[in-house]
Structures are given as structure tokens and as C-alpha cells.
């Protein structure tokens, strides 16, 4: 829910409750005052009747007036109390305020009933009620509109900052541009965001630099270890046991230097060292790769089918090589003997699928660095992240599908 909606809802509800309460109170107070007024009139009428009766010894003739009715009735018992009621009178549609009182004329006790129409009072209270309701609605509508316009304007810097933040990439050397604002809270927020993002960028680039330097520094010791191993195995007196030990050392070194190369490659891609692109004929590139992998597939009895159409894409040549090598190496490594690889190149899409005994990859995590579904496999877990990274910087979209034991990667541009 938007802040504004939430705010409006609370605002609206309280306003309505307050207005309803005050309108009700207002209604009762007005009615009370007006009825009091009518009652006073009735009392004056009572006094007039009593004075008339005292002076003339008879009850005054009731004069028919539109909003006032007077009637007398003989009472058989003493009627002393005075009674006000509000009631309907026969033949009239408005309600009446009625005063009944006892009056003694020549020893006879009469009950005099004076009724005054409340038509005026009702009309007045009704219009007051209507006016106040209309006022409520008007105030609500205005406040809603004003709030909407004003709040939107007030929150504008917030949304601009959000937009700027959404486009923020920690790996891009760009500082965030926030529109200037006179609101202290937003200025403070922007300052904080700027500080935090700058810090993140700084730390990120330090980390990147560190990775690259560390990888570079590792090259020489690795070269030395490898060369020493190459020399050591020349020894003719090596026993079988020692040879096995050597093989383990070789494999570990191999893994380490491969890992190192991969990390270095990732760091370089992130550092935009492969930014220059040329129009690449993918059909030629893939044909070249098919030739390079041909013997490998033959040895493993992997049948390869390819349907290649012409496709030209603007890519970095080195990265394209690495990308295709990685995709085809993956399709080969994770294959089964007598398996198959299918390569389909269309004008805007490349599809590589392979048979495998492995289960479906976790599409959420498959591109994470060092994520491996099967920890026992000898691979370093950087193959797919490198593929993904290359796709990202080259503007290619990569998708993964799995069906019938076939793993399929689709690149589109």
C-alpha cells in the first residue's frame, strides 16, 4: 500500500467520524433549542388562556390558525400537571409540539390542549443537517485532492532518488545524481545514500583490484611449482607410489591454475577490459569450434548435429571464443558416452543442448560462483558464472531448459 493511500485512509476515516459525531451533536442541540422556543410559545399561550378564563369566566374560542390548534375537553378528575409531548395530530402530516394543562372554569375542570406545528423547526434542522453533510463531503473531497497534489509534489524528490538508486550498479563507475531538494529529510536521505553507495563502490573496486592482483601474483609461484613437478617426474628412480603422489600434486596444481585463470578472467571482464566489439560471424566461429572439438567427440562417441544459419552479432572476439569454448566444454564434460549434442544457430538465437545423466540444474543458483550441485565433481564452479558474465556484458540473454534428460542453453540477442 502506498504511503499516501494509507495516510488518506486514516485521514478520511477520522474526518468522517468527527464530522458525523459533530453533526449528530449539532442536530440534537439545535433541535433542543428550537423545541425550547416552541415550548415557550406554548407557555405564553397557556398564560393567555388562563388570563382570559379568569377575566371572562369562560374559555376563549379557539381561533383556527394554520400551525396552531387549541382544544378543550372536560376532565372528570383533577388535572394539575402540565405535559409537553411531541406527537402527530390527526389530519396533519407534520409533527406537533403539544402542551396539555388543566384549567378550572366555574368549577369545571377542563384539559386544554395547545398544539403547535413543528414544520418550521423540522425544516430548519433538516437544512442544517443537509448543509453540514454537504460541508463534510466538500471538505473531504478538497482535502483528498489537495493532499494528493501536495503530497505528490512533496514526495517527488523521494521518488527521484529511488529512480536514481534503481539504476545504480556497484560495478559501474558512476556517481548518483539526486535532484536538489529543500526538504531536510530528503537531503539527509540523499546524503546517506550517496555516502553508502560511494563506499560500496570503493570497496567493490578494492576487492576487484585485490582479486586481480592476487591472481597475478599467484601466476609466478604456480609456474615455479609446475616447472619443478615437470622436472621431478624425469627422475627414473621414482617408485609407483611416488608417481601417484606426483599425479595428485599435478592435479591440484592444475585445478589451482585453472581457478586462478577463471578468477582473473572474471576480474578482467568486470574491469571492462574486453569492451571493444566487432561484428562476428557466429556461423564461422561455431564451425571452427566444431572442428576443434571433433576428435574429442569422436573418442567419446558423442553424436553431434548442427543446423547453422548465418548470424552476425557485435561481440568481443576473445569473449566469444571463451563463451563458445565453455558452452561446448560443458556440453562435452557433462555428457554420457554415446550421448548427443545439438547445436542450432538462428538469426537471433543460439541453442546448445546435450544429453546427460545429471539431474536438472537449479536455475536460481546455477550461475552463482563456486556453486556446485555435486561437490564431488572436479570442476571449479566458475564455468557457468563466466558464461553468464560474458552474456551480461555482451548483451546476450541466456536461458536454461531441462526436459527428457536434455540440458539446453539458449542465447538470444
Amino acid at each position: 500500500m502506498k504511503l499516501f493511500t494509507k495516510y488518506s485512509r486514516i485521514n478520511l476515516l477520522t474526518t468522517i467520524i468527527i464530522f458525523l459525531l459533530s453533526a449528530t451533536a449539532f442536530y440534537f442541540v439545535i433541535r433542543y433549542i428550537l423545541i425550547n422556543q416552541v415550548d415557550n410559545d406554548l407557555k405564553i399561550e397557556e398564560r393567555e388562556i388562563e388570563t382570559y378564563a379568569k377575566e371572562h369566566g369562560t374559555l376563549p374560542e379557539p381561533i383556527p390558525v394554520k400551525d396552531q390548534k387549541i382544544s378543550y375537553a372536560l376532565s372528570d378528575h383533577d388535572f394539575k400537571t402540565r405535559r409537553f409531548t411531541t406527537d402527530h395530530v390527526e389530519g396533519e402530516k407534520d409533527s406537533f409540539r403539544i402542551l396539555q394543562f388543566g384549567i378550572t372554569v366555574k368549577g369545571n375542570i377542563y384539559v386544554a390542549t395547545v398544539a403547535k406545528s413543528l414544520e418550521g423547526t423540522d425544516a430548519l434542522t433538516r437544512s442544517i443537517l443537509l448543509i453540514s453533510l454537504a460541508t463534510i463531503l466538500l471538505i473531504l473531497a478538497t482535502s483528498l485532492i489537495v493532499n494528493r497534489v501536495v503530497l505528490k509534489k512533496l514526495w517527488q524528490p523521494f521518488y527521484s532518488s529511488l529512480d536514481a538508486l534503481r539504476n545504480f550498479r556497484v560495478d559501474k563507475k558512476q556517481s548518483l545524481n539526486f535532484p536538489s531538494t529543500q526538504i531536510d529529510e530528503f537531503t539527509f536521505m540523499n546524503q546517506t545514500i550517496r555516502k553508502t553507495t560511494n563506499q560500496a563502490q570503493q570497496e567493490y573496486s578494492l576487492l576487484k583490484e585485490f582479486t586481480e592482483n592476487a591472481s597475478h601474483e599467484m601466476q609466478t609461484p604456480l609456474a615455479i611449482i609446475r616447472s619443478k613437478l615437470d622436472l621431478l617426474i624425469q627422475d627414473e628412480n621414482l617408485s609407483e607410489e611416488q608417481s601417484k603422489t606426483m599425479q595428485s600434486a599435478y592435479s591440484a596444481i592444475e585445478k589451482l591454475s585453472r581457478l586462478n585463470q577463471s578468477l582473473l578472467l572474471l576480474a578482467k571482464i568486470e574491469n571492462n577490459q574486453y569492451a571493444d566489439t566487432t561484428s562476428i560471424n557466429l556461423k564461422d566461429k561455431i564451425t571452427e569450434k566444431l572442428n576443434a572439438f571433433h576428435e574429442l567427440w569422436q573418442n567419446q562417441n558423442i553424436s553431434v548435429s548442427s543446423a547453422l544459419q548465418d548470424a552476425r552479432v557485435n561481440l568481443n572476439s576473445e569473449l566469444t571464443d571463451i563463451l563458445l569454448n565453455n558452452l561446448l566444454s560443458n556440453a562435452t564434460r557433462h555428457n554420457v558416452s554415446n550421448g548427443s549434442i545439438n547445436i542450432i544457430l538462428k538469426e537471433t538465437e543460439l541453442e546448445i543442448s546435450n544429453s546427460s545423466s545429471e539431474k536438472e540444474l537449479n536455475s536460481q543458483q546455477m550461475f552463482l560462483r563456486f556453486f556446485s550441485q555435486d561437490k564431488k565433481r572436479p570442476y571449479n564452479g566458475l564455468g557457468l558464472p563466466i558464461i553468464k558474465q560474458i552474456c551480461d556484458v555482451s548483451g546476450l540473454t541466456i536461458r536454461y531448459f531441462f526436459s527428457n534428460d536434455q540440458h539446453k542453453f539458449t542465447l538470444s540477442w
Binding site: Q219, L229, D230, Q234, S243, Q247, F293, S317, N325
Partner: protein
């Protein structure tokens, strides 16, 4: 034949010299820029193994000086930098080949051999090893003048073995040689096993001696 190794990392330089030095090569070495400059101006080498980052200067300046002096020494650049631009630049400046660290010594030896063969190619571009004859231009192999039908990888493998004869080559070095850095399939040594098995079979069938020996599953040796 004399080979000069210019590499500031003494341990690596030691290894390279120890591996290259055999009946065919005499290995000299320098560890910094100035002494290297002095050596290349004074003597001629069949091949110079040249590191790019040297104390006192860049290996590429040594290369430029060689070219200025119109010297014909073969040059193999060894560098930790593996970008295409660096390679292209070194080759344009006049290097014969470029090898990225960390490398396998058999790979280095194969490259040095190839450079020397190219430089000293006197009309016939071939390698002869007892009854084996490799035509480097046509990329075919004869055993006692009978042609042997080898695949591209098998041919590369044989040439690699001959460039490293009487040396044990690890399976890792073979994998890297055949498939390079980028083809990330080197973990599966089954591929190498199949290639070597086929190569041996074909050579023996053609009447050659079985030179290729397996060494405890760790690697192979082409012994003469």
C-alpha cells in the same frame, strides 16, 4: 645450439634450463635487463626465451633492440599476461611465439623446438626421428616411407613427443597442449588415453618401434 633464458625469477629460470639442457641444447641465462642486453648484442642464439617483466626494463625493449640489430635469433615470449592484445603486440614487434605463465616445461620445449626448426629450415621442412619422418608443411607422417594416416590431434601429439624425447610428459601437460587453456576438458584424461592408444596402434601397424611408454599412469615418455 645455444638457448638464452631471460627470466628474473631464478627458480623458474633454473627449471627451464634444467629441462632444456640436453644433448641438443646449451642453456645460458640472465636475470635482469642490462645483462640480457649485453648478452644479446655479443652473441647469437638459436632461440631466446624472454620474460616481459624484468628488473630494469621491459623484455619487449630487448626484442626491439634485437630487431634493430637485424638479428635473426628466434624469440619466445613468456609472460603472465594472457590477453590477446599483449600477444598480438609481442608478435607484431617480432617475437616468434608467445607462451602464458604458468606453462608446462614440455610445452616450452616444444615451442622452442618449433622456433628453431622454422629458423634453420634449409629447404626441407621435416623432422626425422629414426624410422619416423614428419612433414611439417603437409602435416603427414611416414614410417619407413610408408604413409601413416593420423588424425590432427594424433599428429600434434606425435610432434609433441618428438620435441620432448626421452622426457616424461605428464598427462596434464599433454591435455593442455592438445586442447589449450580454453577448452576446459583437460580434467578428463580418458580423452588423452584414447588418443595415445590410437597413435601407438597406428605407428606399430605401420612398422614403427613402440616408442611411447606409459609411466605409472602419471604420464608418457617417448624414449629412443
Amino acid at each position: 645450439m645455444k638457448v638464452l633464458v631471460i627470466e628474473d625469477e631464478k627458480e623458474l629460470s633454473d627449471s627451464i634450463c634444467a629441462y632444456l639442457a640436453n644433448e641438443q641444447f646449451v642453456c645460458e641465462r640472465t636475470l635482469d635487463f642490462d645483462s640480457s642486453m649485453e648478452k644479446i648484442l655479443l652473441y647469437d642464439y638459436a632461440c631466446i626465451v624472454l620474460d616481459v617483466n624484468l628488473p630494469g626494463g621491459s623484455g619487449l625493449d630487448i626484442l626491439k633492440e634485437l630487431k634493430n640489430q637485424n638479428k635473426t635469433d628466434g624469440v619466445l615470449i613468456i609472460s603472465a599476461r594472457n590477453s590477446l592484445d599483449d600477444k598480438v603486440f609481442a608478435l607484431k614487434t617480432g617475437a616468434d611465439d608467445y607462451l602464458t605463465k604458468p606453462f608446462h616445461l614440455p610445452e616450452l620445449a616444444a615451442r622452442v623446438n618449433a622456433i628453431i626448426r622454422r629458423k634453420s629450415f634449409d629447404g626441407k621442412n621435416e623432422v626425422i626421428c629414426n624410422e619416423l619422418k614428419l612433414d611439417l608443411g603437409e602435416k603427414n607422417v611416414m614410417v619407413n616411407d610408408n604413409p601413416v594416416d593420423l588424425t590432427k590431434k594424433e599428429y600434434e601429439l606425435l610432434l609433441y613427443f618428438i620435441s620432448n624425447k626421452n622426457r616424461v610428459i605428464s598427462k596434464n601437460a599433454i591435455a593442455q597442449h592438445l586442447w589449450g587453456d580454453n577448452m576446459d576438458v583437460a580434467d578428463s584424461y580418458d580423452f588423452i588415453y584414447t588418443h595415445i592408444k590410437n597413435l601407438r596402434k597406428k605407428l606399430i601397424l605401420a612398422g614403427a618401434t613402440d616408442y611411447i611408454k606409459s609411466i605409472y599412469g602419471m604420464g608418457y615418455k617417448f624414449s629412443i
